[in-house]
Amino acid sequence: MSLNNILTNWSRYRKGAEEGGFHEYEHQWGMVVDLNKCIGCNACSVACYAENNLPVVGEKRCGKNQAMNWLRIERYWDEPDLEPYNATPSANIDAWIEGNPPAKKTELKPSMPSSYLPGLLEEGGQNFEQRVGFGGTKSEFQDFGASFLPMMCQQCHAATCEPVCPVAATYHTPDGLNAQVYNRCIGSRYCSNNCPYRLRYFNFWSYYEDAWPEPLHMQLNPDLSVRDKGVMEKCTFCIQRIRVAKDKAKMEDRKVIDGEFSTACVQTCPTGALVFGDMQNPDSQVSKLWSYHQVERGKTKQSKQNKELRGYRVLEGLNTDPSVLYLERVREV
């Protein structure tokens, strides 16, 4: 990235953001995650390991939170939007950040479960998070199941990781992705600190030394590098597959066709909860889903005509402008 690029792209981007998004993308890769279909089965996550040369770090390092699961399934026991058997939406973070508590709510509760404080005090801090564990429901049982949330890099358009990288190893591509150039990374880890989703993973060790004992290394995908210690990495929306598809389209002098390829997670998802595609193509499945759910890019708060539509973006109120649209989980009450 030349100096010129940084300066011009930045100002162009800043201008674009105020006008509702940067419009000069060649493609605009986006995703939709339908939580109504997601069963939290982990197929996507393992597919990601297989596709992206993710190292297995072992029990000890998992215990230290050094796992490299680019795509992780978060599992929550509570349902902030719905009380068990009583559909009273509670406050959500987006509204709070903007200073507008949602009108439906009568009182602004602290966003922690009641078991939080005693838990902290009781354990003197050690493992206090675990105390939060079953604060999700007031009922004796987990009446409404679990809430699963597949989280991969959200490919934000106003990414918080990009401006803080001292060497511009992470930057915005003309395809609207947050690129991570492994070989440029010096490992300051600022980007990960500044990612509100905590979706950036750091090579704390030379994982390649022991993650693929022979002949497991023969499975490594030659289309992307195996990262050494000291490098930040994250979900790339399977850039190697995008690259192949774009190259192929270019060789054949045509545009990339919707559904011609997809990311590893999307391809394997047994319920089809994940959808991937080009949002610059108005006929693509993702474009249609985004517009059906009336979610627009470049906004911190959506002005939907039909407020009941399920589309939302995680922590949208932070103005990160993610490329992943989540469709709310559905529950019969």
């Binding site: 990235m1 030349s2 100096l3 940084i6 230290k64 939170n65 050094q66 796992a67 992780r72 978060e74 929550y76 973070i93 709070w96 950040i97 903007e98 200073g99 602290p110 966003s111 922690m112 404080l117 902290l120 005090l121 003197g124 801090g125 050690q126 493992n127 206090f128 998070e129 989280m151 918080t160 401006p163 803080v164 990288c165 001292p166 060497v167 511009a168 930057y171 440029r184 990374c185 010096i186 490992g187 300051s188 880890r189 600022y190 990960s192 600190n193 500044n194 509100p196 989703y197 905590r198 750091f202 704390f204 060790w205 030379s206 210690k229 000291g230 490098v231 930040m232 932070l318 990160t320």
Partner: protein, 473 residues
Amino acid sequence: MKYVNEKDINEEIKWAQINTDILQSLQNPRKAYWIAIAVCLAMLSCAVVAEVYQYQTGLGVADLNRPHMWGLYIATFIFWIGMSHSGTLLSAILHIIHADWRKPIYRFAEAMTTFSLMTAGFFPMLHLGRMWNLYWVIPYVSDRGIWPNFRSPLVWDAFAITTYLTSSALFLFIGMIPDLAICRDNVTGWRKKLYTVLSLGWQGTDRQWRHFRKTYMLMACFLIPLAVSVHSIVSSDFAMSIMPGWHVTSFPPYFVAGALYSGCAAIITLFILLRYFFRLEEYMTVALMEKTCKLTFAIAMVWTYLNLVEFGATWYGHDPVAKEVLISKFVGPFAPYFWAMMFFGSVLPFALAFEKLRRHMPTMMIVSILLNVGMWLERWMIVGPTLSHAYAPEAWNFLWPSIVQWAIVFGSFGWFGLLFLIFVKVFPCVSMYEVKEMVFHRRREAHAEVAEKFHRRAADVQQATGRPSVEGA
């Protein structure tokens, strides 16, 4: 009120005596010095071993993890940067406001600035995953046509710290030139050669003094905004981020206040040590101690105020996530350290408000060290809790730093100590020429006072008797 007329310095002290007293600190060291050097080297080697291990194995050995990408390294980095503000405060700020009591104690404070910057600079380097590529942060014309990201506060850091380090080292050196000339004229052997080169042919001519004063004043004026901006820029590493508890507009003044605070506390510590070991009681007087302590107390109160402002703004603000970070500091896993910081930072400084305690050197020694412990904890409390409890609930976790982190932090004190020990044996740690100036001015003032007293008394007598007094004639 007992000490209200106490003098900052004995103004009757002879100039030659000043030279003798201070140059004796450059005499060949005694055993205690070598022991101190050995201790510092031992501490440093802990860090070196840890760092080599970390460099070869990867940052995993520091037990850093996904939410905790930064650990003690960045906290300690801020701590040392903060420490560096003492010298600038004493030598530059007090210089331009003509607070001449700074003169006997500014030299070592200025040295402290340089050395703590030299210590601080290591941390952003050794916390890098691939530090061998550190130079990519520097803008240079490369074959590849790529540049650093000028939007990143870390790049600003690199600029700010190198500028500050160069300037303060230069400031320290320039301020030493007349003293180096004195040294040159009073020593033999290798020291003579060293001082001859370093004193740049100082003869004390009028022209030299004129240029010297101008340069020194200019540098002082340049350093003050620089010092303020350096810590503001360091604070923007956090303030420019989106993270709860970091994304705070009051961070720059808060950081600067904290910096001055820890710097002052460190000055008290070194003041006492130098005063004791080099027998500089005549120069580093209790009265100066008093003044330093009062200054520290004032800054402590500013820091406390800014702390409370930050808590208040968060508590009554509309950002529940930031509030949760605050709560996790109050009652979460970080609570013991947080409350220790609050005690050391805001309660303990009240010891400085009591004259009796202020004048009791052992007490002050302990208090000043604890104040700095508090300030170090403050930096950890900035870095740690936010990383532990930010937006993504999935990533909530608590990190206890590994032995490698502790060893490197511990070793940084050894490195600093080593530099400082070498400095005090090679260079005069009290500015001779400025003490002379001070003594000169004080004496003149004192004489003027006596004269005035005399005249007043004469006037009284005249008033009473109607004629000039005999004594006054």
